[in-house]
Amino acid sequence: MIFFQQLLNGLQLGSIYALVALGYTMVYGIILLLNFAHGDIIMVGAYVSWVVMSRLQLGPITAVFASVLMCTLLGVVIEKVAYAPLRSAPRLSLLITAIGVSYFLENGAQLIFGADGKNMNAIFSIPNLTIGSVTLSSTALVTLAVTIVAMIGLLMLVHKTKMGKAMRAVSEDMGAAQLMGISVNATISFTFAIGSLLAGIGSVLYSNIYQMATPTMGSMLGLKAFVAAVLGGIGSIPGAMIGGFAVGFIETFVSAAKIGQQSLSVWRDAVVFAILIIVLVVKPTGIMGHKVREKV
């Protein structure tokens, strides 16, 4: 019974990692940037939820929409302001800029909201589900369901729509995509919008679980999601999904495991990173990764 509950906990945590990892992987796929500001978008989304619910006293629906919208816009604006001017600059300049944006967001939040965390209520409050002797967390079920719907939506977008196909074309060969009449700038903006929208959804789900916003909450979450993306194969959308759930499971099960009386909980992050290293040694491109792409 405990096993099922842990399984669900793993899926819940994994859902959040997967949603955030998708943004990392899509942006990397299209402009070869590890967007270290991506995790901080979650943080901004959490503060938006807090402001809407605790400050403005508006309902949860408003909080969800405001958060997701804000995250989406923020992602697009960051790209336009900070990354687009560096389109033909070395990738290292872009990476350093991303780190700068991340500090900017974290310190900006600290300046506005203070260094201490802000507590808020759960966004959705639904009673837990009890089947026989098993109680399943409704929060976890909602998180998982929303994530699955978002993932299906993303896969349809990428495989069935013109814009989604253009995204794949640009990430494979930017020059050839331009020769098809695809606007590279518009496609990159769109990619950031989708990646940040998923982060916004992740942010709402995360706030719903932990009910707290702090200026640095995005950095560890972002790092874990980044590990998930690399584990799955950076640049690969299914890879980010698998990687996210994998990291969620590893963390949950290591946290729950015991040797004798000793809980292994403190080893949680170490095990995640160790597994990442092992996977990269065995398969440097990650679980679903493609061979390294040549850039023209």
């Binding site: 494979e172 331009q178 020769l179 098809m180 695809i182």
Partner: protein, 235 residues
């Protein structure tokens, strides 16, 4: 008025001076060839016309409009397509998706028609429409790259070494298709190492040497030209 008019363009890669002032034109309905040795600047010229690179000075006009500073994707929408050197198909997308990308600037209904056309010309692509482009043979990839460039129904189609790396029989097939395309109304600017084949189907040709045009004339004139014969036709 010429369909394409290139006026004294100078193009650099950083400090490398690749195109040192070339001027040429392509009239509607023609096949025009650019020939020259490796590194002469043929691909650079096409990249510059397509807007992937900018000339430092000079002017490019297409269908009466100045396209020198136009964005690459707008140039395609204006009716100028390029099938780039080395095929550059989207290897992780299917044959059909590659063709759809070729029609990116067009309406869905028009796309369907173009696709039928391309499949009619290249039945081998139709058989493999669901296959990932990266798994096609070299010849099939070349057909896909050409088909994809045709999908936008360009007024002017630029082909960069379409016969590169193909078996002789397939080379002939590709040149036949270029001829057919031209007869059905598409103007063609052709870059080729295979000067013999290229010039024999061309109305006119230009010979490029280290970033400059050194000889120009009709296809027949160039085929008979002593210098061209020695340098590019093997005697």
């Amino acid at each position: 008025m010429s369909l394409l008019n290139v006026q004294d363009i100078h193009v650099y890669y950083g400090s490398i001076y690749a195109i040192k002032g070339i001027s040429f034109s392509v009239e509607e309905g023609e096949i025009v060839s650019l020939i020259g040795a490796n590194g002469a600047g043929k691909s650079t010229t096409l990249k510059t016309i397509s807007g992937l690179m900018r000339p430092r000075t000079g002017k490019i006009e297409f269908a009466g409009a100045d396209i020198t500073a136009m964005k690459a994707h707008k140039i395609v929408a204006a009716g100028l397509a390029q099938c780039p050197e080395g095929r550059r198909v989207f290897s992780r997308m299917t044959v059909q998706e590659n063709l759809e990308m070729g029609a990116y600037t067009r309406e869905n209904a028009e796309m369907e028609k173009s696709m039928e056309d391309v499949y009619y010309r290249f039945p081998r692509l139709k058989e493999r429409y669901k296959q990932e482009a990266g798994t096609l043979s070299g010849g099939e990839q070349q057909m896909l790259a050409m088909g994809r460039a045709m999908m936008s129904r360009p007024k002017l189609l630029m082909l960069d070494e379409p016969s590169m790396g193909l078996a002789p029989l397939l080379v002939e097939e590709i040149f036949e298709i270029i001829g057919e395309l031209n007869r059905s109304g598409t103007t063609v600017l052709l870059v080729e190492q295979n000067a013999q084949m290229a010039l024999s189907i061309s109305n006119r040709g230009y010979v490029l040497e280290t970033g400059r045009i050194v000889i120009s004339g009709t296809g027949d004139e160039l085929l008979r030209d002593d210098k061209v014969r020695r340098a590019y036709l093997g005697g």
